[in-house]
C-alpha cells in the first residue's frame, strides 16, 4: 500500500502538478485577454508557439536561457501591441464582438502557424534543457527543470496577480475593462490601457513558450495542444479571476492525473470537458467568478 503510494500515486500527482503549472502559465495570459478584456483570443496558442520559436532562434544565436526569459516577453510586447491596435480594435466595437474577435484571431492563428511552418519547417525541434539532472524526493524522481518550472511558474502567477489586483496600473486595466466610458471620463487612457493589457497577455504567452519549449518540444502546431485546456481553465476558474485560473488549472490536471491511473488516460479529455459542461450548467460564472463583473 505504502509502496503503491510512493511509486505510483505520488509520482503521478507530481507529474500532474507539473502539467498543471504549464497549463496555468498558458492560461494566465488568456485570463487577462479573454477574462478581463473580453476578447476571445483563439490565436493565444500560436503566440505561445511564437514565443517558443523566438527562444529557439535567439538561443541558437548563443543567448543564454535566463536572458531569454526576459528578452522574449519584451519582444512579444510590441507584437501584441500591434495586433491589438491593428486588428482587434477594428472589430472590438462591433455588435458581434465575440464572433468577430473569435473569427479574426482564429484566422490569425492559422496564418501564424503556417508562417512558422514556412520559416522553420514542419519538423519538431527540441531545445536543450537549461537545468539538467533530477532530484529524488522520498524516492520520487523529479527532473530539476520541472521542479524549477513549478516554483518559477507559481512565482510568475503571484507576480501577475499582484500587478492586476494591487497596483494602480492593474486597477486602471480592471476599470477600463469594466466600463470603458466611465474609466475614460475619469482620465484613464483607455486605448493605451487596452493595447497594453493585450500586449501583456501576449508577452505571458511568449514566456510560457520559452519555459515549456524544453519539455514539450517546438513545432508549428504546438499552439493547438494547450489552447482548449487553457480556455477550459479560464471558464471553469471564472472569467478574469487569476485565483480561479490557478485553482482550475491545478485541480483539473490532478483529476486527469489520478483518473488516468484507473481508467484509460484517453478519457482524461472527455472528463475535463465534461466538467466544463457541468460548470457552465450549474455555475456559469465559474468557480471564482462573480456574474456581472468583468
Amino acid at each position: 500500500m505504502l509502496d503503491y503510494l510512493q511509486f505510483v500515486l505520488a509520482p503521478q500527482m507530481v507529474t500532474g502538478l507539473s502539467l498543471g503549472v504549464a497549463v496555468v502559465l498558458v492560461a494566465l495570459g488568456l485570463t487577462i485577454i479573454f477574462g478581463l478584456l473580453d476578447i476571445i483570443n483563439m490565436s493565444h496558442g500560436e503566440f505561445y508557439a511564437v514565443g517558443a520559436y523566438l527562444a529557439l532562434s535567439l538561443g541558437a544565436l548563443g543567448i543564454n536561457f535566463w536572458l531569454l526569459l526576459l528578452l522574449v516577453p519584451a519582444l512579444m510586447i510590441p507584437i501584441g501591441f500591434a495586433v491589438e491596435r491593428g486588428l482587434i480594435q477594428r472589430v472590438f466595437n462591433s455588435p458581434d464582438r465575440h464572433v468577430a474577435t473569435l473569427l479574426l484571431t482564429f484566422g490569425l492563428g492559422i496564418v501564424l502557424e503556417d508562417v512558422l511552418s514556412l520559416i522553420y519547417g514542419p519538423n519538431t525541434q527540441r531545445p536543450s534543457t537549461p537545468i539538467r539532472g533530477a532530484v529524488e524526493i522520498f524516492g520520487i524522481m523529479l527532473p530539476n527543470y520541472r521542479l524549477f518550472l513549478i516554483v518559477f511558474g507559481l512565482l510568475i502567477v503571484a507576480a501577475v496577480a499582484l500587478v492586476v489586483y494591487r497596483t494602480r496600473l492593474g486597477a486602471m486595466v480592471r476599470a477600463a475593462a469594466y466600463d470603458r466610458n466611465m474609466a475614460a471620463s475619469l482620465g484613464v487612457p483607455v486605448k493605451a490601457v487596452f493595447a497594453g493589457a493585450f500586449a501583456f497577455g501576449i508577452a505571458l504567452a511568449g514566456l510560457a513558450g520559452v519555459l515549456l519549449a524544453p519539455i514539450y518540444s517546438v513545432f508549428p502546431t504546438m499552439g493547438r495542444d494547450f489552447i482548449l485546456l487553457a480556455f477550459t481553465v479560464v471558464i471553469v476558474g471564472g472569467m478574469g479571476s487569476i485565483v480561479g485560473a490557478v485553482a482550475a488549472g491545478l485541480g483539473l490536471t490532478q483529476i486527469q492525473a489520478i483518473s488516468s491511473l484507473y481508467i484509460s488516460p484517453v478519457w482524461s479529455d472527455p472528463i475535463v470537458f465534461g466538467i466544463l459542461v457541468v460548470v457552465l450548467m450549474l455555475r456559469p460564472q465559474g468557480l471564482f467568478g462573480r456574474l456581472g463583473r468583468a
Partner: protein, 393 residues
C-alpha cells in the same frame, strides 16, 4: 542495381527506336500521385517518403524513364488524417488523372484511399503503413504494400527478445488507431508464443502532448520491457519525458520500426539509446546496393535515409519493373505484373506475394547506439512473413 539499369536500357533503346511499339499511350509522362503528410505529427515521416521518391524518380528519369516515359510526381498533403487523405486522393485521381498513387502514411489513410482506388479503378501502394489488416482481413486487389508490416517486424523483435531476455514481462503503449492496435496485438502475440508475459497495454491518442499521465499505469504494472509503436514527433515526447522522469533507468525499450528513425532521433538525443526494433531497413546494411543508395541520398539531402525513404525509393523501381513487365500502365495488366514480382531495392531483392500483395523481405533487429542504427540480428524473409490471411481473390 547498376547491372539492372544496363538490362533495363536494352529494351528501352529498342523501344525508342520504334515509338509505335509503346502502344496507345502518348508521350505524356507517367504521373504518380503522392498523398503524404507534409504537416502534422507524421511530417518527419512524409519528408523521408518524399526524399526517397524524389531520388529514385530522378535516377529513373535520368536513365530514360520507364519505357521511354518520364515519371512526374504530384504531391498532396494528407496530414496523417484519413478523411483529408481521401479528399486529396480523389483530387489526384479525378483532376490530375494519376496512373498510380502512393505516399499514405497513416494506416487509416491507406485503408480509406484503398477503397477509393477500387472505385476509381487505380492501383495504390503504401511504403510506410504498418497495420496488418491492410494486406490481411481488409486487403484490396488495388492495394500493394512494399514495406514490412507489423507482424514481420514483431516476429523479428520477439524472437530477439526471447533470446536476449527470456520470459520477459512486457507492457505496451501504442497510438490509439489502426496501426497502434495492430502493432501492439502482433507484438503481444509474438511475446506470448515465446514464453513471455504481457502485463497490459495502454493507447494514447495520436499527437499526445504529454505522456506523463500514462506513466502511472506503466509504473503500477512494473514491466521489465516496454514496447511502443508511437512514431514521428510523438516518440520524441514519449522518450524524452520517460528519460526525465527516470523511467528509462531499469527498463528496456523496444518498439516498432517507425518509432525511432533518422528523422526524429536528433531531437531525442540520448533518450533513444538502447532502443531495439525489428525493421526492414538500416542505413548500416552492408551491401554495395545499399552503400550506393546511402551515398546518393546523403549527397542529395545531407542526411541519412531511414526505412521510409528506402522503401519509398524501392517503390519507384517496383512500379518501373511492373510497368515494363506488363508493357502498359493499364490497371489490370500492371496488377497482374506486380503479383509475384521480384525487384531490386537498397535492402536486397523483395518479392511481392501474390496472395495478399505483401512484400516479403529479410528483417533486421536493430539497436540504437549513440545515434547509430546498429544491426544486431537478422531473420530471413520467409520466417518473418506469416501466412496469407487475405481471402478476397
Amino acid at each position: 542495381m547498376v547491372r539492372r539499369n544496363l538490362f533495363a536500357a536494352l529494351p528501352l533503346a529498342i523501344l525508342l527506336a520504334s515509338p509505335a511499339a509503346t502502344g496507345a499511350r502518348a508521350a505524356d509522362p507517367i504521373k504518380i500521385g503522392v498523398d503524404t503528410p507534409i504537416t502534422g505529427t507524421y511530417a518527419p515521416i512524409g519528408q523521408q517518403v518524399r526524399w526517397g521518391l524524389d531520388l529514385a524518380t530522378k535516377e529513373v528519369n535520368a536513365a530514360g524513364g520507364i519505357m521511354g516515359w518520364q515519371i512526374q510526381l504530384i504531391y498532396e498533403d494528407e496530414e496523417a488524417n484519413a478523411s483529408v487523405a481521401v479528399q486529396k486522393a480523389d483530387k489526384l485521381f479525378q483532376v490530375d488523372k494519376v496512373d498510380f498513387l502512393t505516399g499514405t502514411v497513416n494506416s487509416g489513410s491507406t485503408l480509406a484511399v484503398g477503397q477509393l482506388a477500387e472505385r476509381a479503378g487505380k492501383l495504390i501502394a503504401t511504403t510506410v503503413s504498418f497495420a496488418d489488416s491492410i494486406t490481411g482481413d481488409k486487403c484490396s486487389p488495388n492495394v500493394f504494400r512494399v514495406n514490412a508490416r507489423a507482424e514481420q517486424q514483431s516476429a523479428a523483435l520477439a524472437a530477439w527478445l526471447a533470446k536476449d531476455k527470456p520470459n520477459a514481462k512486457v507492457y505496451s503503449l501504442g497510438p490509439d488507431y489502426e496501426m497502434g492496435r495492430s502493432t501492439v496485438a502482433a507484438f503481444q502475440k509474438g511475446v506470448k508464443e515465446r514464453g513471455g508475459t504481457n502485463l497490459g497495454e495502454v493507447f494514447a491518442p495520436l499527437d499526445s502532448k504529454d505522456y506523463t499521465q500514462y506513466f502511472g499505469q506503466i509504473r503500477a504494472a512494473r514491466p521489465q520491457v516496454l514496447y511502443t509503436s508511437v512514431a514521428g514527433n510523438d516518440t520524441v515526447r514519449l522518450l524524452t519525458q520517460m528519460q526525465d522522469f527516470g523511467l528509462l533507468n531499469n527498463m528496456l525499450i523496444v518498439g516498432a520500426s517507425g518509432t525511432v528513425t533518422s528523422q526524429n532521433i536528433t531531437a531525442m538525443g540520448s533518450a533513444a539509446d538502447g532502443f531495439v526494433t525489428g525493421v526492414g531497413y538500416s542505413p548500416q546494411i552492408d551491401t554495395p546496393e545499399n552503400k550506393k543508395f546511402v551515398e546518393a541520398f546523403r549527397a542529395e539531402f545531407n542526411t541519412d535515409p531511414d526505412l521510409f525513404a528506402a522503401d519509398s525509393y524501392g517503390l519507384i523501381y517496383f512500379y518501373k519493373a511492373a510497368v515494363e513487365k506488363a508493357g502498359s500502365t493499364e490497371t489490370d495488366k500492371v496488377r497482374t505484373a506486380m503479383r509475384g514480382l521480384e525487384w531490386p531495392t537498397p535492402q536486397g531483392t523483395k518479392t511481392m506475394r501474390a496472395g495478399d500483395h505483401q512484400a516479403v523481405q529479410k528483417m533486421y533487429v536493430v539497436r540504437v547506439d549513440k545515434g547509430k542504427f546498429n544491426i544486431i540480428g537478422e531473420v530471413p524473409g520467409d520466417q518473418a512473413i506469416g501466412p496469407v490471411t487475405c481471402t478476397r481473390w
